[in-house]
C-alpha cells in the first residue's frame, strides 16, 4: 500500500475517533434539535394575550373629524370638552387624548395629552392619529380606495433578474442575511478546526519525538501530504454532517418556526461549497503544516497560527460590505485575496451576487497560492522537523529553506 495513503488513513481515523472532533461535529445537529425544542417549549407554554384595542380620546373643535373613528388597533372616542377627556384619562378609560383646535386647518397643530413619560411619541401612535386625520380630511373628496392608497402608497416587492432575464431566486430576508452568515460561520469553524487538528498533529509528533522514527520510514513530503489529506478528509466528513443537518433543518424548521421563512440551500451552493472548502482547507493546512514544523512545541507555534487565522475569519467582520454591496470594491478584493476568498466567495454565492469570471479568477488565484504554499511548506517541513532548539527568526527560516 502507498505510504502516503497509510498516513492518510491513520490520521483520518485518529481524528474521527478523537473526542473533540466528535463533540464539534455533533454540536450543530444537537444545537438545531435543541433550538427547535426550545422554540416549541416556549411556544407551548407561553401564550401572549391578544392585543387589546386601545382607546384614544379626542376633542374636536372644528367639527370635521366625526367618522373613521375605528382605525387598525385603535378606537378614537370623541369627548365634548377637554374637562371630560381629562377625567377619562385620569380614570384610565383612555390611553391618551388630543385636542384638534378650531384653527387646525390653517396650521395643523394638534395638542396631545398623555400620562406616560416619553421623549418622542411612538411612531405607532403618531401613525394611527395621522391615519385618522387623513381619512377624515379626505372623506367625501375621494373614494375610500384612494384614501387607503394615500395612507400606504408603497408596498415594495423587489424582483432581481439574472443575465438571461429569468427571475433570480433569493431576495427574502432569510436567504439574504441568514444563509450567508450561517454558511460562512460553519465554513470557517470547519476549516479552522481541520487545519487546527493538522497543526496539533504536526507539533505532537515533534513534541513526542516520533518524528524521527517516521522519517526513517517515509519522506517528509509523504508525511506532509498524508497528514494534509487525512485531516482534510475528516474535515469533509464534518462538513457533510453539518450540510445534511442544515438541509434537514431548512426543510423541517420553517414548518415549526414560521419566522424562519423559506430557508433554501440550492444544490449549486453545496457544489461550490465543496470546491471552496477543499481549496480553502488546502491553503490553510499547508500554511499550518509549515508553521507547525517550525516551533518545538505546540505553544510556540500558536502565535503564528493566530496570525494566519485572522485574515481567514475577516470576511465575517466585513459581512456588511459583502451583504449590502456584494459587487463593490471591498467584496471584490475579499473574493480575490486567497486567504479570504473561500469565505467571501461563499457568502456572495449564497447571495447569488457573483459572476462566473469572478469565481474563475478566485479559483485560479487560490490554486496558484496553494501550489506556492505547499512547495514552501514542504521545504520548511523538511528543514525544521528535526530541530528542537529555540524558535528561529524569520531570516533564519528563509536561509534554512534555501539550504534544504
Amino acid at each position: 500500500m502507498n505510504k502516503t495513503f497509510i498516513i492518510l488513513k491513520h490520521e483520518f481515523w485518529k481524528t474521527l475517533r478523537s473526542t473533540s472532533f466528535i463533540l464539534l461535529t455533533l454540536s450543530l445537529p444537537l444545537l438545531a434539535i435543541l433550538g427547535v425544542g426550545i422554540y416549541q417549549g416556549v411556544h407551548h407554554w407561553y401564550h401572549p394575550a391578544a392585543p387589546q384595542e386601545e382607546q384614544i380620546g379626542y376633542v374636536d373643535q372644528t367639527g370635521v373629524f366625526g367618522s373613521y373613528t375605528s382605525q387598525p388597533g385603535v378606537l378614537f372616542v370623541l369627548y365634548p370638552d377637554e374637562e371630560q377627556a381629562k377625567d377619562a384619562l385620569l380614570a384610565k378609560d383612555i390611553k391618551e387624548y388630543f385636542v384638534i383646535p378650531a384653527d387646525y386647518l390653517s396650521n395643523g397643530v394638534v395638542t396631545r395629552y398623555t400620562l406616560s413619560r416619553e421623549v418622542v411619541p411612538s411612531t405607532k401612535t403618531t401613525g394611527q392619529i395621522t391615519d385618522f386625520l387623513l381619512s377624515n380630511l379626505l372623506a367625501g373628496e375621494v373614494s375610500p380606495q384612494v384614501i387607503e392608497r394615500v395612507k400606504a402608497p408603497l408596498l415594495l416587492d423587489s424582483v432581481r433578474l439574472d443575465e438571461t432575464g429569468e427571475i433570480a431566486p433569493g431576495q427574502d430576508v432569510a436567504s439574504t442575511y441568514i444563509v450567508p452568515i450561517i454558511f460562512a460561520t460553519l465554513f470557517i469553524i470547519s476549516i479552522m478546526f481541520s487545519s487546527g487538528f493538522l497543526f496539533q498533529s504536526v507539533t505532537e509528533e515533534k513534541e513526542n519525538r516520533v518524528i524521527e522514527i517516521l522519517l526513517s520510514s517515509v519522506s517528509s513530503g509523504q508525511l506532509m501530504v498524508g497528514k494534509v489529506l487525512g485531516l482534510g478528509a475528516a474535515g469533509l466528513i464534518q462538513v457533510a454532517v453539518w450540510f445534511i443537518t442544515f438541509v434537514i433543518f431548512s426543510r423541517v424548521a420553517p414548518g415549526i418556526i414560521p419566522a424562519l421563512g423559506a430557508l433554501s440551500v440550492p444544490a449549486s451552493l453545496i457544489g461550490w461549497g465543496l470546491v471552496y472548502f477543499i481549496l480553502g482547507y488546502l491553503l490553510l493546512a499547508s500554511l499550518y503544516a509549515g508553521v507547525g514544523s517550525i516551533g518545538a512545541t505546540a505553544k510556540e507555534g500558536q502565535g503564528w497560527s493566530t496570525i494566519i487565522a485572522l485574515p481567514a475569519i475577516s470576511p465575517i467582520w466585513f459581512n456588511y460590505f459583502l451583504i449590502n454591496s456584494p459587487e463593490g470594491a471591498v467584496s471584490r478584493v475579499l473574493t480575490f485575496f486567497p486567504l479570504t476568498s473561500p469565505v467571501a466567495a461563499m457568502m456572495r454565492l449564497a447571495l447569488h451576487a457573483i459572476s462566473a469570471w469572478e469565481i474563475a479568477l478566485s479559483l485560479i488565484i487560490l490554486a496558484g497560492s496553494i501550489a506556492l504554499t505547499m512547495w514552501f511548506a514542504a521545504k520548511v517541513f523538511r528543514a525544521f522537523l528535526l530541530m528542537y532548539g529555540k524558535r528561529p527568526a524569520l531570516r533564519e527560516i528563509i536561509r534554512y529553506v534555501r539550504e534544504a
Binding site: I6, L214, S216, L386
Partner: protein
C-alpha cells in the same frame, strides 16, 4: 521455473558477499561548520558495528544521513547495494536517540502503525508484535496507552517497533540509555540474537563497555572525522603499550628485555623494550623458577583508547 529459482538464489548469494552499508567520503555542514568531514566506512552482513565518539562528534548526523533523513553535501551512501530509496527503507530498522511514542495510542496501535509504514502486512505485524512483546515481557501492557508506561517500558516498546518488520539492517542510537541492568542485559541478548540471524547492526553509544562486549568492528568519530576504524581486536593491539601484568611470588632481577616495572600493589606491570616478546619474558620467568599466578599482555580498554584519541585530537 527451476531456472528462475537458480537465478534468485545466485542473486541472493551475490548479496551476501556485498557490504550492507557502504559510505564513501561523506560530508555535511551546518551553518558553515563541518559536522561530518569526509567519513568512509563499510559494514558487512551479520556484524555488529560500533559507532563511538564524544558528544557532538557527528554520530547522529552520520546516522541520519544513512537513514535519508538529511542529505549529505557530498559523498556517496549505499545501503543493501543501492542508494537509499523507499523499498530500502522498509528493510531498515532505526531506533533514534531522540525517540518517543504516540501518547494517546495504545502499544498495539502504535506498533501496527509503525509496521504499516514499513509496508508490513497487518496480520503478520500483529503476530510478530505479540511474539516480541512476550519476549520483552511487555505483552500484558499491549492495550495500555503509552502515557501509562514508565520510561524504561516505553524504551522496550520502541525497541520492539525497531525490529518488528524483521529488518536486515538495524541502527540503534544509544539503545541502553535509561534502562535498568536487567533490561540492558535483555536488550544485549536480543542484539546478539539479531547477529546470529545474519542481520547487520549499527550500535552508536558512549558506553564503551557495551561496545567492547558486543561489537566486531568500530568507527570512532571525533569532530566529524573518522579517527579509528577497524576490528576491535586489531585496534586494541595497535594501542597496546608494550607491557605485561604479572602476579608472582617474587620478581627476579635481570629479566631480558624488561626495561622497568611498576608496582600496582596486587600485581606488577613490566615494561618491555619493544624487541622482546611477552612470550620470551614468560619463558625466562619460568626458567628462573618463579611461580606465576597471572600473566597477561596488557591491552588498554576501549575507554582508555577513546580518551587518549580524543585528547590527542585537541
Amino acid at each position: 521455473m527451476a531456472e528462475l529459482v537458480d537465478i534468485v538464489s545466485r542473486v541472493g548469494k551475490a548479496n551476501e558477499a556485498m557490504n550492507v552499508v557502504e559510505v564513501s567520503r561523506v560530508s555535511k555542514s551546518f551553518k558553515g561548520v563541518k559536522v561530518v568531514d569526509s567519513v568512509s566506512f563499510s559494514i558487512g552482513q551479520g556484524e555488529i558495528f560500533g559507532m563511538v565518539g564524544p558528544n557532538g562528534a557527528g554520530k547522529t548526523t552520520t546516522i541520519r544521513m544513512l537513514m535519508d533523513i538529511i542529505k549529505p553535501d557530498s559523498g556517496e551512501i549505499k545501503i543493501l547495494g543501492e542508494p537509499i530509496n523507499e523499498a530500502i527503507k522498509n528493510r531498515i530498522g532505526y531506533l533514534p536517540e531522540e525517540r518517543g511514542l504516540y501518547r494517546k495510542l495504545t502499544v498495539s496501535e502504535s506498533l501496527s502503525y509503525l509496521a504499516a509504514l514499513k509496508n508490513m502486512r497487518r496480520r503478520l505485524a500483529r503476530e510478530r508484535a505479540e511474539e516480541l512483546l512476550k519476549r520483552v515481557n511487555m505483552l500484558p501492557h499491549k492495550d495500555k496507552k503509552t502515557d501509562e508506561l514508565s520510561h524504561g517500558m516505553g524504551q522496550l516498546i520502541q525497541f520492539v517497533a525497531t525490529i518488528l518488520h524483521d529488518p536486515e539492517l538495524v541502527v540503534f542510537d544509544e539503545p541502553f540509555a535509561a534502562l535498568d541492568p536487567v533490561n540492558t542485559q535483555l536488550l544485549k541478548e536480543l542484539i546478539l540474537e539479531l547477529r546470529s540471524q545474519g542481520k547487520s547492526v549499527i550500535l552508536s553509544t558512549h558506553m564503551m563497555n557495551q561496545v567492547e562486549e558486543l561489537c566486531d568492528r568500530i568507527l570512532m568519530i571525533n569532530k566529524g572525522q573518522a579517527v579509528l576504524y577497524g576490528s576491535l581486536s586489531e585496534i586494541k593491539s595497535r594501542y597496546r603499550n608494550n607491557s605485561v601484568f604479572l602476579e608472582c611470588d617474587r620478581l627476579p632481577e635481570g629479566l631480558p628485555g624488561v626495561v622497568g616495572n611498576k608496582n600496582h600493589m596486587k600485581y606488577m606491570e613490566l615494561f618491555l623494550d619493544g624487541r622482546t616478546s611477552p612470550q620470551e619474558v614468560l619463558s625466562a620467568l619460568i626458567s628462573k623458577g618463579v611461580t606465576v599466578g597471572r600473566f597477561e599482555v596488557s591491552t588498554p580498554s576501549l575507554n582508555e583508547i577513546f580518551i587518549q584519541v580524543v585528547k590527542e585530537g585537541r
